[in-house]
């Protein structure tokens, strides 16, 4: 897992690319924020139309289900255990 700054907001996004809330989430992110793609949102990784923030992580079981383990960099994939750790480090969390 990449080095995570312990400031900023954790944005947890479960909508597929093209969903209005997917677009709204990306627009609401600041530089120091972290994006976690879960469920349908992991389809943003192979999506050639989506530009993701620098600090983007994705939930491993959701990537695997959709055949996307290969599209993520190793440091981008996180387990549920690591997701819990990220919520420890970030008092501000928004679930989109």
């Amino acid at each position: 897992m990449n080095q995570i700054p312990d400031t900023g907001t954790l944005h947890i996004l479960n909508k597929a690319p093209g969903h209005p809330r997917f677009v709204a989430c990306l627009a609401a992110m600041s530089n120091q924020d972290t994006l976690i793609l879960i469920e349908n949102a992991v389809l943003a990784l192979p999506d050639t139309d989506t530009v993701l923030p620098r600090q983007t992580l994705a939930l491993e079981p959701d990537l695997e289900a959709r055949g996307l383990s290969g599209t993520a960099e190793p440091g981008q994939q996180i387990s549920h255990q690591q997701l819990v750790q990220l919520t420890e480090q970030h008092p501000r969390i928004i679930s989109w």
Partner: protein, 116 residues
């Protein structure tokens, strides 16, 4: 009577796509001509190497591979969406017919049906 069942929702996020598959299998079981069309994010159903155990579900890839055996006539996918999400053709399941115009394909069927 010919029916085109359309799946435009992402796999595993809900049961809607599986229930669309049940519809197409049901038509085929009653010997009614039926085909499947995947559009938009729905084309991600057609990716190879799916493994849904970690999300507590069964992998849908197998259901799709069985479609021709059960009498589903064709599996179509929107070309533009495939190029957007699966530019590498090796990541796509075999046996899929790419369509350049969803509009034209739809006019060739008596019924065009979404599952939800």
């Amino acid at each position: 009577m010919t029916t085109l069942i359309v799946i435009d929702q992402a796999p595993y996020g809900s049961w809607a796509g599986r229930e669309a598959l049940d519809m197409v299998f049901s038509l085929a079981a009653f010997d009614q001509p039926a085909a499947l069309l995947f559009t938009g994010v729905g084309v991600n159903w057609l990716r190879t190497a799916q493994s849904a155990k970690g999300v507590g579900q069964k992998t849908v890839e197998k259901n799709l591979s069985a479609a021709p055996l059960f009498g589903v006539e064709k599996i179509f996918a929107e070309q533009e969406a495939c190029e957007r999400f699966m530019p590498d053709t090796s990541s796509r399941l075999a046996g899929i017919d790419l369509v350049a115009s969803v509009k034209n394909l739809m006019t060739q069927y008596d019924h065009v049906v979404f599952a939800g």
